[in-house]
């Protein structure tokens, strides 16, 4: 069953891959626009300078630092803003994505954005709830970090602080993934039942996620693990086999990883939708 939900989710991802390409295009184009002011300001400083060649055949960090020290170089406001814009965009389209997965069909533009708009505020409220749950987690992480710093400094074992931080980091990551799974299931529930109460959906999702934690978490985790493994492998290939001046190849590798990461996230959502349909709706028809 577990395998079937994951592979069925993957099939759903592939059948509705227009969603993946479309979101990837938005991610790409908006980031390109966000990068433009910084790139243009850099071009103003080094676009006609021979000194810039030191960044072409290799990567002289000193040249980059000197570049960033020039007051003409844009500080990157748009670069900082873009992730927030993309977050809002995702909140707008996630309703449409889940409806499309649930109905396993291509929605028309109006229908897609209609679904996105319909669930937008509910998903915003869910995000606020998630941030509220994350706050104590962040505090706990801060405390662990301080503890680790103290250990690094005070323990005769030079590895103690690092070991604590690493194991703590892994635990926090796993907890964060579990939280995300819980909120994902609440979103699936909201879309499936058109429930208006976010809290009720959250309560339901918490109970369901806890009851079926093994199957759901494994479904979610292994897709995340796949994306991390792909990232590590591609970075390793890039560091060892791609010459610095081959920007085209670097660009393609980078975009491949980004596409895979996006695909993995949509795969998780598709898998959750399939799981919900098979495990919940067969028992509790909508």
């Amino acid at each position: 069953m577990r395998t079937r939900a994951a592979s069925a989710g993957f099939g759903l991802l592939l059948r509705r891959q227009y969603l993946l390409w479309w979101i990837f295009a938005v991610n790409f184009v908006l980031a390109a626009l966000a990068t433009l002011p910084t790139a243009l300001s850099m071009a103003g400083v080094m676009g006609h300078s021979l000194y810039s060649n030191r960044l072409v055949t290799g990567f002289d960090v000193g040249v980059l630092i000197e570049l960033l020290m020039r007051p003409q170089v844009n500080g990157g406001t748009t670069l900082a803003l873009f992730p927030l814009v993309f977050l809002v965009f995702m909140l707008l389209v996630e309703g449409g994505i889940l409806v499309s997965y649930r109905q396993d069909r291509r929605l028309g533009t109006g229908e897609f954005f209609g679904a996105g708009g319909k669930f937008f505020w509910r998903f915003v409220r869910l995000m606020v709830c998630m941030l509220a749950v994350l706050v104590p987690l962040f505090f706990a992480w801060g405390a662990l970090s301080n503890w680790s710093d103290r250990l690094s400094s005070n323990s005769p074992n030079p590895y103690a602080g690092f070991q604590l931080e690493l194991s703590g980091g892994v635990i926090f990551l796993l907890v964060f993934l579990a939280l995300r799974l819980w909120f994902d299931m609440a979103q699936v529930r909201l879309v499936a039942t058109e429930e208006r109460s976010v809290l009720r959906a959250l309560r339901w999702a918490l109970g369901t996620t806890l009851r079926s934690f093994g199957s759901l978490y494994w479904l979610f985790l292994r897709i995340s693990l796949t994306s991390w493994i792909v990232l590590v492998v591609v970075v390793w290939i890039w560091m060892n086999f791609v010459p610095h001046e081959h920007m085209g190849l670097s660009f393609l590798l980078g975009q491949f990883v980004l596409l895979f990461w996006l695909a993995a996230r949509l795969w998780q959502r598709a898998g959750e939708t399939v799981w919900y349909e098979r495990r919940i709706e067969t028992v509790l028809p909508n």
């Binding site: 991610n27 966000a34 300078s49 002289d60 670069l79 992730p83 980004l258």
Partner: protein
């Protein structure tokens, strides 16, 4: 000392400081002169033959390269210290016998002493300045950490033949009149010490060590014991020179001998300045280790039960040198990196500047949490710094070892006044560090070299200088800099950058000869900035004051730019293509800064021809014009990249074609990172 320990390992570095210091001229202690004038370098007073602790008349360079004979230095002081460490209480109880040779040529009845450990108290000048400006390891505005309390108490003070004068001890504050600062005291003797006589001080003292901070203290069972005993000031230029301990200052002392007996628990492994001559087991479970050293001017030691003593040796022009590397647990992977850097530095200095005359060098690797003890120099003993995960391509451990070893020459032997002329030890040493690192690890990648990601040590020094290029001249007293960041940027970064640029003016070979002459002439003495600059002038065979006035005593900014390059048909009024084949090519160069420097300009034309032009750089701009059958495609100031002081390397060249590859590369990286950041943030939705 190395300025970068705080930001290990990613050390593109420096210090955040907020407040500037207001200092009042010292008047409280007429017997002390802390030379106050912010000065351009002036020739020092004519030295007297009877004042060997002053810099002697410079001997001619050719007569100073013969073999050294002992004593290397004029030995003014002879210390014998018996110290016992209490590792639980972090205290030391000690007795000190100091024999002082009065070579000042006049009777002396007043003696100042340093009590550096008293700096580690909240109202000391040092801590006040650290709080205001920050320093390495401590941010400005940081609160008081009681663990950093340190103190040295003189329990008794007697003079052989004159009796106990403990009650005569008087704390003085020659630099700032801070009555709460207890880092310098003076005593007035019942009767003066006649010229050429010896006087013997017998002192008992008690140290409370701070948790490691600013080079000294303890961390768990590791002890780095520096600046820990009452140390007499230096009679220099006709007066006592004995400054308080400041946030930005280091030390200054006379040459002499040290015979130090250190008692520690029997399982402790020790290291110290000089040679270990004996170890005696005591009935109380302790052992006493004796170290002796001569022709040095400071003594520090370290102890820990966890050290692994790695022994090695190196042979140079002055004979065999024993190497002791005291490694801390978890740092084993850095052992060979330290040794390679150390031996490389020994060889470079030996060959380039002169022999290393001592028979030992000890490198202390502080344990985790004790990096504040790292990156420090003492005669024949240096402290390094690493961590268990230090990547191979991050050359921080190597840089620290090369830097601190360099201080054996620029501080240890050429013993300049670190309070007043910090650029002469830290700055010259940073220049040497760059030369050694480039020689050992390759220019362009001597600070960082990971998968094509590179940075050079020289460039790092230049960037440090550029962070605050015009606040203070090199010649400023260390504690009078605008702030701690300015001290680091100018003393280390600017001096190195200034000397690298000078190398381009007089040539690398001449520069090496000048440095060698300076070392051989002034080793085992206390030269001044004027001595250094005069040596450079002498060996270069030219008066370089035009350069020193701007770069050493001035704060001028050097920045030349290619303002424009242009080609237009000579017969520009005729339709394109009809005007024949001749072009008016012009290159407009602009002096943006107030630093005047002769420059070379390389102009390249579209047929591949290159024309070099010279400019004395004095006017604010110059236009080079050519009438040629080809068009100019680029112009470059300083094409051989010798003018390290130039503030902006980007505007040193201009091309007609757009150089899009670098911009494209950065844009791709930025975009990919931003796309990824956006996807991560979207996990909240």
């Amino acid at each position: 000392m190395r300025r970068s320990s705080r930001s290990y390992p990613m050390r593109f570095r420096y210090f955040i400081s907020l407040a500037s210091m207001a200092l009042v001229a010292a008047a409280a202690a007429p017997s002390l002169t802390a030379k106050r004038q912010a000065r351009p370098e002036t020739a020092k007073p004519a030295p007297k033959a009877a004042e060997p602790s002053q810099a002697p008349s410079p001997p001619p360079a050719q007569s100073i390269s013969g073999p050294l004979t002992r004593p290397f230095s004029v030995r003014v002081v002879a210390y014998e210290i018996n110290a016992k460490l209490d590792p639980k209480k972090k205290t030391i109880d000690a007795t000190e016998t100091l024999r002082y040779h009065n070579l000042t040529g006049q009777p002396l009845d007043t003696f100042p002493f340093h009590l550096y450990l008293n700096a580690f108290q909240p109202q000391s000048t040092f801590m006040t300045e650290v709080h205001q400006m920050g320093t390495r390891g401590t941010d400005s505005g940081s609160g008081w950490n009681p663990a950093h309390y340190g103190a040295i108490t003189v329990k008794s003070f007697a003079i052989e033949g004159m009796g106990d004068i403990t009650s005569q001890i008087q704390f003085i504050h020659p630099d700032d009149q801070n009555v709460n600062d207890r880092t310098v005291f003076q005593v007035k003797l019942p009767k003066p010490v006649a010229p050429n006589d010896w006087v013997t001080f017998q002192i008992a003292f008690h140290d409370q060590l701070p948790e490691v901070m600013e080079r000294t203290g303890y961390k768990r069972d590791f002890f780095m014991v520096g600046q820990w005993f009452p140390k007499v000031g230096v009679w220099w230029h006709g007066a006592w020179n004995c400054h308080q301990f400041h946030a930005n200052t280091e030390f200054f002392a006379d040459f002499g001998t040290y015979d130090v007996h250190i008692t520690v628990p029997v399982n402790y492994i020790t290291g110290a300045v000089g040679d270990k001559v004996s170890t005696t087991r005591n009935p109380d479970g302790t052992k006493t280790v004796t170290y002796q050293a001569a022709d040095i001017h400071d003594f520090s030691w370290t102890a820990s039960p966890r050290f692994h003593d790695v022994e090695d040796s190196w042979t140079g022009s002055a004979g065999l040198v024993h190497i002791h590397l005291l490694m801390s647990p978890g740092h084993e992977s850095t052992t060979n990196r330290y040794l390679h850097a150390l031996k490389g530095a020994l060889s470079y200095f030996d060959k380039t500047y002169g022999p290393y005359p001592y028979d030992t060098i000890t490198v202390v690797d502080p344990p985790n949490g004790a990096l504040d003890a790292g990156g420090m120099e003492y005669p024949t003993l240096i402290t390094a710094g690493t961590s268990w995960w230090m990547p191979k391509g991050v050359l921080e451990p190597e840089v620290v070892v090369v830097h601190e070893f360099g201080h054996q020459y620029w501080y240890g032997m050429v013993a300049t006044n670190e309070f007043e002329d910090a650029w002469l030890d830290e700055g010259i040493n940073t220049y040497s560090e760059v030369k050694v690192m480039d020689a050992l690890y390759g220019p362009g990648r001597s600070a960082l070299n990971i998968h094509g990601l590179t940075a050079s040590d020289g460039e790092e020094q230049r960037l440090s200088y550029l962070s605050l290029p015009d606040t203070d001249p090199l010649t400023r007293f260390a504690w009078q800099y605008m702030n701690s960041q300015a001290y680091g940027a100018v003393t280390y970064g600017k001096t190195a950058t200034m000397l690298l640029t000078l190398e381009g003016v007089i040539g690398e070979q001449t520069m090496q000869r000048a440095m060698r002459t300076y070392f051989l002439r002034y080793r085992f003495s206390h030269p001044t900035g004027a001595d250094f600059l005069n040596t450079l002038n002498e060996v270069a065979g030219q008066n370089l004051s035009w350069y020193f006035d701007q770069a050493v005593s001035g704060t001028n900014i050097l920045d030349y730019e290619v303002l424009s390059i242009r080609s237009s048909g000579v017969k520009w009024w005729e339709p394109r293509g009809k005007g024949g084949t001749l072009y008016d090519d012009t290159v407009l160069i602009h002096r943006k800064g107030d630093f005047v420097f002769p420059i070379q300009v390389r102009v390249r034309f579209d047929d591949g021809k290159i024309v070099n032009a010279q400019w004395d750089g004095r006017d604010r701009w110059i236009r080079f014009s050519y009438v040629r059958p080809d068009q100019v495609i680029s112009a470059e100031i300083d094409p051989e990249h010798k003018i390290w002081l130039d503030r902006n390397f980007f505007n040193n060249s201009r091309t007609t074609d757009f150089q899009g590859l670098a911009v494209g590369k950065l844009a791709v990286y930025y975009q990919i990172l931003d796309q990824w950041a956006a996807q991560l943030v979207a996990w909240l939705s």
